[in-house]
């Protein structure tokens, strides 16, 4: 019976009756890329049907959920550590023999764990590779089906898929040469010079250190040996460069400026970057050039879920609004039928907070939020708002404005007979957050998208390492912390890359990092295609006393 079934299976395989079947030889390289990419990334055959896959040997599963990309990642180079464990599936590596050690890199951690965690095997051929994908048997005759599904793909389509695997991470990305890795950071002209310095200094510091180390290890065997064991000969010998790409004038002209910078120096990736206003043109440029950007420091990141190239630290200003809504939603049963009033400054910042709040609120609640908009330059009208509070008796009043609203908030908090929650953005208050009058501290709730400052202080020692003897007070604390994170993540990713300098693998390597604890953010987490590393925000209040601390009133509220 079993034999019969497999014969039947073979017959359907062999029957050359597929209207959509295209011979791989007749296809252009672009067509192969396009069709192969669709199979690899979406699990869809050239004829538009899902690939049939079988997990654990014979359990039929949709190939569209068991896509190659979900395990072998976008670069095809897989991951040995982290949340996904899978070997590379790129032609270049598959058609090479795999041994138990990688010559010249025996003691380098990333190479070592790659070599010892994956079994040795001979080089694949087109035939053995097709057999592996279709039947889950590797060239040693070993079944790999415990994790890797087998895929029912006919010969023509298999040929396309294999041709595609041969193009995956086949040519080193531009910006990476044998000697150099080129980087740039994008600065929007007009940004506070102190912030620019705080953003650039850590990046420049690590580039300089890296280059001194490359030189020092050439001249000194002992250093060479020590550093070799951590970085491997390839990364050790590489020098880094960092260019500053300053964007001037209106954002509509940035594209041309970026094109010119890139033409003159096609870098491997962008590191950091800074803008308190627009960023979308840079984001789009990176998508179009397939150029990674790691942690630009921007208030308004592009929230497009399908974008790939830019990894942001968070969802920006908006994230505080989202967290506020989720915090309130958690206790909304207590609101009975009392409304929520949201007062927002009609500015980019106010609108981002409001949009975040409304989007998050709408996920859980149909009850509308009473929105009041404050035009630019017009102060919060206490009388009016108190009147509204008296008539509406809101369960919560959320105010998105800067510290100039504090005196008004103080009066509102004391509105007679009103028992409700008053909430505002902690970061927008700036330093004024520390001077909230005592009678307001119990009443005012604040969003705080970072670790609490007194719990963060111990990370300052890490920061001080990169200041070359200068004081932390000389810098913008948040900016320098964020740049420090960029450095650390860059270092970790490069060390995991085993000399394979492909942009997609760079991003894959960051995606596979475990949760990390760096200065500033309570927690950063990564994941395949996740593009906002800090997902949370605290709701806090200011404590008692002369040197008050922020006190948590919520856990790290995540989206």
């Amino acid at each position: 019976m079993k034999l019969f079934l497999s014969l039947l299976f073979l017959a359907t395989f062999v029957l050359p009756f597929n209207l959509y079947a295209a011979k791989v030889d007749d296809l252009s390289p672009q067509q192969i890329r396009q069709l192969g990419e669709r199979m690899y990334r979406e699990g869809v055959l050239p004829n538009g049907e899902p690939i049939q896959a079988f997990a654990a040997g014979d359990i039929p599963v949709e190939g569209t959920s068991f896509t190659c990309i979900s395990c072998h990642l976008r670069s095809g180079l897989g991951a040995i550590e982290g949340t996904v464990i899978s070997p590379p599936a790129t032609g270049k590596i598959l058609y090479e023999e795999r041994t138990t050690s990688i010559k010249g890199n025996e003691y380098v951690p990333s190479y070592h764990s790659y070599a010892v965690n994956l079994p040795p095997r001979p080089a694949y051929t087109d035939e053995t590779l097709a057999k592996m994908i279709a039947s889950g048997v590797d060239p040693n005759g070993r079944s790999t089906m415990a994790i890797m599904p087998r895929f029912q793909i006919d010969d023509e389509n298999m040929a396309i898929l294999i041709a595609y695997l041969k193009t995956l991470s086949a040519e080193l990305s531009v910006g990476a040469t044998k000697e150099m890795l080129h980087f740039a950071t994008v600065i929007v002209d007009g940004t506070d010079p102190a912030e620019i310095e705080s953003m650039v200094l850590p990046l420049q510091f690590s580039v300089d250190r890296k280059n001194s180390l490359a030189t020092a290890s050439k001249n000194n065997d002992r250093i060479a040996r020590m550093a070799y064991n951590m970085l491997g000969p390839d990364l050790l010998a590489k020098r880094f460069s960092l260019e500053r790409w300053v964007l001037k004038g209106p954002s509509s002209t940035w594209r041309a400026q970026l094109e010119a910078y890139y033409k003159a120096n096609p870098v491997f990736a962008l590191l950091g970057g800074i803008s308190h206003g627009d960023w979308a043109p840079v984001h789009r440029f990176c998508e179009d050039k397939q150029l990674p950007d790691i942690f630009p420091q921007v208030d308004y990141p592009v929230l497009d879920e399908s974008s790939w190239q830019t990894i942001y630290l968070s969802r920006g200003i908006r994230q505080e609004g989202e967290a506020a809504a989720r915090y309130l939603a958690g206790m909304s049963e207590l609101f009975k039928d009392r409304p929520v009033i949201q007062v927002s400054r009609n500015s980019r910042r106010g609108s981002a907070l409001k949009a975040g709040f409304n989007a998050s609120w709408a996920q859980k609640h149909k009850t509308p939020v009473l929105d009041i908009s404050l035009p630019a330059g017009v102060a919060l009208n206490v009388k009016q708002l108190s009147k509204i509070i008296k008539t509406q008796n809101p369960a919560a009043v959320v105010v998105w404005d800067d510290a100039s609203a504090l005196p008004a908030l103080q009066k509102i908090a004391q509105t007679e007979g009103w028992k409700g929650l008053l909430l505002t953005s902690g970061t927008w208050l700036g330093d004024k957050i520390w001077t909230l009058p005592a009678d307001m501290r119990k009443k005012l709730y604040l969003t705080w998208p970072y670790r609490l400052p007194h719990e963060n202080a111990r990370f300052n020692i890490s920061l001080k390492r990169i200041l070359s003897g200068r004081s932390l007070d000389d810098f913008n604390f948040e900016v320098i912390s964020k740049s420090y994170i960029t450095n650390e993540v860059l270092g970790k990713a490069l060390k995991d890359m085993r000399g394979e300098y492909y942009r997609d693998f760079f991003l894959d390597s960051i995606d596979m990092l475990p949760d990390t604890y760096f200065p500033l953010y309570e927690r950063l987490s990564f994941g395949q295609g996740q593009r906002f590393a800090s997902k949370g925000c605290f709701i806090v209040q200011l404590g008692k006393g002369e040197n008050p601390q922020l006190e948590r009133r919520s856990e790290w509220v995540t989206r």
Partner: protein
């Protein structure tokens, strides 16, 4: 010369060790990891079910993520008591009373064995 180069290596960011120095008075801290929660309305007559929900959030807020200490480097987190009951104000305008957080108690101390230069908690 060698010393200079050595410090260069130690400082190299790519390697990312946690070693460093500071010189301030020594200190210790106590942190909690919350494992349970309850609501105590006291005299207030607050709704138990509602209070319980709010106390879940309030007690979680009281909890510390110990990796925020250990990952910074140079500190050890030592468990000194299990299942302590800690009473905190519910801090909510809708309801009065207290939250009873069940928590494991930890002492954070300077890891002076590996980091002899380090003497303070921040």
């Amino acid at each position: 010369m060698f010393c200079k180069i050595l410090s260069l290596i130690v400082l190299l960011l790519l390697i990312g060790t946690n070693a460093s120095a500071a010189a301030k008075p020594a200190a210790e801290a106590t942190i909690y990891q919350v494992t349970g929660y309850a609501y105590d309305p006291g005299e207030s007559g607050g709704d138990i079910a509602v209070g319980r929900v709010l106390c879940a959030t309030r007690c979680n807020a009281f909890s510390s993520d110990y990796r925020n200490y250990t990952e910074a480097g140079g500190w050890r987190v030592i468990k000194i008591a299990s299942d302590q009951e800690v009473r905190v104000d519910i801090d909510n305008p809708f309801i009065e009373g207290h939250c009873l957080c069940t928590a494991d108690q930890y002492k954070v101390i300077v890891n002076s064995v590996s980091f002899p230069d380090r003497t303070v908690l921040d």
